[in-house]
Amino acid sequence: MADIAHCRSDFPALQQDVNGHPLVFLDSAASSQQPAAVIDAVARYQREDHANVHRGVHTLSHRATELYEGARDKLCHLVNAASRSEIILTSGTTESINLVAQSYCRPLLGPGDQILISWLEHHSNIVPWQLVCEQTGADLIVAPINDRGEIELDKMQALMTDRVKLLGVGHVSNALGTVNPLRDIITSAKKLGITVLVDGAQGVPHMNVDVQALGCDFYAFSGHKMFGPTGTGVLWGREKLLEEMPPYKGGGDMILEVSFENTVFNELPYKFEAGTPNIAGTIGFGAAVDYLQSVGMQNISEHEQALHRYMVAKLAAVDGVRLIGTAREQASVQSFMLNDIHPHDLGTLLDHQGVAVRTGHHCAMPVMQRFGLPGTTRASLALYNNTDDIDRLIAALEKARQVFA
């Protein structure tokens, strides 16, 4: 296990007691905590450098613009985009996917056309497609998953035809932790010329992502799942596609020239960034990238993988625990049930012992329906977790079982 134990002390929120116990935070897949470096970068910006970006000649405006655009550069390098024009700053994964649905798909789709997704997707990678299908008369089709929670690749491939105008697939399932076989999926799709969007909300926080090597066309992710602020996110897209797409929203900054006869849109990436952006949040996002890279994505991956193996082994040994999601390749996310205790009751019983887990459908109701469950209890790990956290979880589960016995 890569030794990154010292990182835990970088996170102020983890240094507290909850319900009389030191906090064990196992809910990073919903939203991660922030290192002091990120919190301070945001506060320092507000105390020293804030002004609106892009259109000011005064010093603060210039400083704000440099910091904001500097964050874009960091994000560009993080995912190895071909150019900074390809990094559209959004309010999060959800907005990134809606942008593609409305700006790329809506003008393109008609009756008979299809959008293909998998049964594993988060609501943010389902509902935007449902909306655009309803708007255009196209159909949403869905590739099934097996009992381990893996996409059935052959069935997905069988659904790929020239009627499919876009394939939307997650990098990592937030509900089950499944790492999808993106290379196989994208290779098959690309043979048929199908445009591919990857929902990377749970990908970027856990592994090195190289969008050019992946070969997809769009990749969406959120700042708040990778130690950055809420209200920030990225849509990466191939420049050629982005160039051809009409703007998503209208407003300040996304135009070169406005008149009532003729409005000229700005160049990429600004064409897709209307209005005052989340300046402070994006600067914090940039600081989060710095933090991730200072720890090292490889170290983070190794640490999380080792800890996940430890957690799975311990969970499996608890009487009455049933693991939900047993994919052969899994990120550091694990769903489970304990006897017939409803996940919400279990969540409360664990919270009471200072252990924070997420319970419910994890915005992936189809996955829950597939397994015939109202929801699961989910423990998700980040670089700041350790084996003590897992031991505390296990002890709390034992106690919960007793209460409900």
Partner: protein, 159 residues
């Protein structure tokens, strides 16, 4: 790691009466006939239940039943509800809705305001007051009751 105080609180939430009603819900199932029904959805928990009332010509609740699935708190609360409102005049049942939701959401110092309702077994729900995120579970069935009384066929949510 655990202190007594904490265990007490937890046992206060999951009292034996609650666990009993959760594991063996009373009046569970869909009756052949019902004059008023409502669906209750708690998107937080994924709790979902149907409440079935038979209101007779005297405006009295002749029968109450429910069906659904959810956490122990919501199931126990629904089960307790069906026992509580049976044979009550509709107006009194609706007063119970007001009283229970108030009792679980307002600060204890205000509780005098609702002292005139006889809570009996419903006191078992009191433990939920310390868990604000679970109050919705406990009040779901009561919202459905109110909705069913207002509109013979309706949906209630707790958001």
């Amino acid at each position: 790691m655990n202190n007594l105080n904490n265990n007490d609180e937890l046992q206060d939430l999951y009292r034996d009466l609650i666990l009993d009603h959760a594991h063996n819900p009373r009046n569970f199932g869909r009756p052949d006939e019902a004059t008023h029904t409502a669906e209750g959805i708690n998107p937080l928990c994924g709790d979902k239940l149907h409440l079935y009332l038979t209101i007779d010509s005297d405006n009295r609740i002749a029968a109450a039943a429910f069906e659904g699935s959810g956490c122990a708190i919501s199931m126990a609360s629904a089960s307790l509800l069906t026992e509580t409102v049976k044979n009550l005049p509709v107006a009194d049942a609706d007063a119970c809705f007001v009283a229970v939701t108030k009792r679980l959401t307002i600060r204890s110092s205000d509780s005098a305001a609702i002292a005139n309702v006889d809570f009996k077994e419903l006191r078992a729900l009191d433990g939920v007051r310390r868990y604000p995120s679970r109050v919705k579970c406990a009040t779901l069935a009561w919202h459905a009751l109110h909705a069913a009384i207002q509109h013979p066929q309706s949906t209630a949510t707790t958001e």
